[in-house]
């Protein structure tokens, strides 16, 4: 089973990287960009019988830092 973990900064946590990229997009002349937030994508191939609980635990214990980040688990159809 293929799983994508989308890790993003929690709302309210400042994202200096996103701000710098936003600025660079402005500099390239792309108007109308209102906000940029940078996250992380983790793609995993896991055993088909991997439980949702196990996936949640992977996210909470390692893949995301729950102090500053949220995560979303996406199971990708083969």
């Amino acid at each position: 089973m293929k799983v994508r973990i989308h890790v993003s900064l929690k709302p309210g946590v400042l994202d200096p990287q996103g701000r710098a990229v936003h600025h660079a997009l402005d500099g390239l002349g792309f108007n109308g960009v209102k906000d940029v937030r940078i996250g992380r994508l983790v793609e995993m191939e896991v055993a088909d019988d991997t439980t949702d609980e196990a996936l949640e635990e992977m996210c909470q214990k390692l893949l995301a830092n729950m102090v500053i980040e949220n995560y979303r688990i996406e199971k990708v159809a083969a």
Partner: protein, 223 residues
């Protein structure tokens, strides 16, 4: 007096830490490798040094926080053994949840490498007893991810309980409430971004960091 410095793949301040502890304590610290399952018995003090453990993969400190040796460090901290984490060591301590909060990319995105003024906020901890509250000291910083973040209620609790050890006199990285170093609730774990081990020799730019080690060693000897 038995001290130890833990080295991870990518640590680069471990030798400076080792020398600082040796010079101040008069005894050679034990060198511990990240893959060692256990710490040596009878340790009085453990230091997690600066650097880029595991290449800062995933997040700074995240991989080291889940390495075998950290289980032993956590157990030692729970028993009350003093643990100092400097720079990457601080990142490891937050990732291991031995300290609250997280260290994010510096607000200006830049790597900062210079000596900064710090204000001593707590002079009664094991680590800070050789300083005076309100005193300004000068310690080098060298980091990319030193922007301390914690939720407001956590920050309020840290301040209310006197657990902010050091603040930046000039906020160099965007840290919330200018926080440069914090203590755990019990007071035996200190994490700080500035490098006291780089400020122990006058010939190397200052000795303000030396007193941190002197304070620790003195408290341990008298304990």
């Amino acid at each position: 007096m038995k001290t130890a410095v833990v080295t991870f793949p990518g640590s680069n301040c471990d030798r400076d830490m080792w020398v600082a502890l040796r010079d101040v304590s008069g005894k050679e610290p034990v060198k511990v490798w990240h893959g060692d399952a256990d710490l040596p018995d009878g340790l009085d003090f453990i230091a997690l040094p600066g650097g880029f453990s595991y290449g800062d993969y995933l997040r700074s400190g995240a991989m080291a926080a889940n390495s075998p040796i950290l289980r032993s460090v956590k157990a030692a901290a729970d028993r009350g053994v003093p643990v100092l984490g400097v720079c990457n060591g601080f990142q490891v301590l937050t990732e291991a949840q031995l300290l609250p909060g997280a260290l994010m990319r510096n607000a200006a995105q830049n790597f900062i490498c210079r000596t900064v003024p710090l204000v001593v906020e707590n002079d009664s901890s094991l680590f800070t007893s050789a300083y005076s509250k309100g005193e300004t000291i000068r310690i080098p910083v060298a980091h990319h991810d030193g922007n301390y973040f914690a939720a407001d209620d956590v920050l309020d609790r840290l301040e209310g309980e006197g657990r902010v050890a050091f603040r930046y006199a000039e906020n160099c990285n965007g840290s919330r409430r200018d926080i440069a170093g914090i203590l755990n609730a019990r007071g035996n774990v200190l994490g700080m971004m500035p490098h006291p081990e780089r400020a122990i020799e006058a010939d190397h730019g200052g000795t303000d960091g030396r007193r941190l080690f002197e304070g620790v060693i003195k408290s341990l000897v008298s304990a």
